[in-house]
């Protein structure tokens, strides 16, 4: 299954990379402004990482698509990230906190947890529970 996932990720990455390669910012052969973003990065980042950045954006786009974001929207979402943000996301897309709790659901689960801890005798919140002796 993970081999399959890897295959699909690579395939989508390739397609996306090809489709956006015309907008990727490679060093140009003519005179150009040195951008604020380049200078902002220069302090902290080594050349090796800067090269990876070129690959990160299509990758993150593909990862977003795999997680249910539409192709078009994924492109714009990836484009709105700074290089540093894109790098962080591509490494931790599944481990970073995703704020999205349905508050009713949360209350329900907290209720159930407290109910169980009540019954086990670790808490005493509800008057109708009888702790296990």
């Amino acid at each position: 299954m993970s081999a399959m996932n890897g295959f699909w990720t690579r395939s989508i990455t390739c397609v996306v990379a090809l489709s956006i390669s015309n907008v990727a910012s490679f060093p140009t052969a003519h005179a150009a402004l040195i951008s604020t973003a380049q200078v902002a990065q220069a302090g902290a980042i080594q050349d090796r990482v800067a090269i990876n950045t070129v690959l990160t954006r299509p990758e993150i786009q593909a990862e977003l698509i795999r997680r249910g974001v539409s192709m078009d929207e994924a492109h714009q979402r990836a484009a709105a990230l700074t290089d540093e943000e894109a790098r962080t996301l591509s490494q931790q897309l599944d481990s970073l906190p995703a704020g999205g709790v349905d508050v009713f659901g949360a209350v329900l689960i907290v209720f159930i947890v407290l109910l169980i801890t009540d019954i086990l005798g670790f808490t005493r919140i509800f008057s109708f529970t009888h702790p296990i002796k």
């Binding site: 402004l33 700074t82 906190p97 689960i109 947890v113």
Partner: protein, 326 residues
């Protein structure tokens, strides 16, 4: 206090409960610190009644929270369009980095606050609602939730939030702090370019402006950089951004002023020299431009390749002009 009832019945556990009780009282350190030494200028109670409320759809607390802060800043954005921009279906939620990125797409500067309760309250007191990430459950069964702090009452020790489907949720401050602490006190604001939140650190704001420049119009980004250089005149990155955005808008004079100032104060003036050369060339001062570009090339450094390109282009341009004149 109910746990105390167990002490008599389960003597071996009483120590554990004592520790729990102690932890509970210690786990809201910032609330305690605020009680004992409040910043003198912080009003005792504030509520931003005008902050709109968007009741959350299933799992969509991120878009709802963003809609609240953006609309307070005068930016019309709906939770529906924001949901397309931040919600990650497979994770059933929204990631912090995408919350920041989505706000930028709506022409707002999105920036994190320092992880302090007094900073959070100070921004609210300044009329800026703050998005916070809370873990409503426990570290080992996290339930991440975005809400917007729109008020507080220090006398009653309360925080007022727009949260989920509740328009005005009042939370005891220590309880709020405990849920917020689990995200390492993560808080963000969205402000129009030109407004600098009082508690935001210099480098945080300027980096937020650089991220903003990437997606915003040059005029909006210039506004943000201008505000930054007004507040922090020695910030080199902000000055470079000011020059670059002026250049994009073909305001050569302003660009030249910014780059010249930056050349004088910068430890690595190559970007400023390179961009100044181009600005001079844009004004038809080619000979001067070449001189500046030469200086950039002679320094070298991480932008050497780009400055060599600039010099080569300018020299070639001068040669072409010479040939035509002959």
């Amino acid at each position: 206090m109910r746990v105390c009832a167990f002490d008599a019945r389960f003597p071996p556990l009483s120590g554990v409960f004592f520790v729990f009780a102690l932890l509970a009282s210690c786990t809201a350190p910032q609330t305690r610190a605020l009680r004992s030494a409040a910043p003198p200028l912080l009003p005792s109670a504030v509520e931003l009644d005008q902050s709109p409320f968007f009741p959350q759809e299933e799992f969509q607390c991120g878009p709802a929270a963003l809609a609240t802060t953006l609309n307070t800043a005068g930016i019309g954005a709906t939770p529906e369009e924001l949901a397309r921009q931040v919600f990650l279906p497979a994770r059933r939620g929204s990631l912090q980095l995408e919350m920041l990125a989505a706000a930028r797409r709506h022409d707002a500067i999105a920036v994190m606050l320092p992880p302090r309760l007094d900073a959070l309250l100070a921004e609210v007191a300044n009329g800026i609602p703050v998005i916070v990430l809370q873990n409503l459950a426990l570290d080992w069964v996290p339930m991440w939730h975005y809400a917007v702090v729109v008020g507080y009452d220090r006398a009653d020790d309360e925080i007022i939030l727009r949260s989920g489907r509740t328009k005005r949720q009042v939370m005891a401050m220590p309880a709020f702090e405990r849920t917020w602490k689990r995200s390492r006190y993560w808080a963000m604001v969205t402000v129009p370019p030109g407004t600098i939140p009082a508690t935001v650190a210099e480098s945080d704001y300027v980096h937020a402006a650089v991220a903003f420049e990437k997606v915003a119009s040059a005029a909006a980004a210039r506004h943000a950089y201008f505000a930054a250089t007004e507040k922090w005149p020695h910030n080199q990155l902000a000055l470079l951004g000011l020059g670059n955005t002026a250049f994009s808008l073909q305001d050569w004079q302003a660009a030249e002023t910014a780059f010249t100032k930056l050349v004088d104060m910068s430890s690595d003036p190559v970007p400023a020299l390179n961009n100044l050369a181009l600005t001079l060339d844009a004004q038809g001062r080619l000979a001067q431009a070449i001189e500046v570009a030469r200086r950039a090339v002679s320094i070298g450094g991480p932008f050497a390749a780009q400055s060599r390109n600039t010099l080569a282009t300018l020299v070639e341009k001068a040669r072409d002009a010479d040939n035509r004149n002959r």
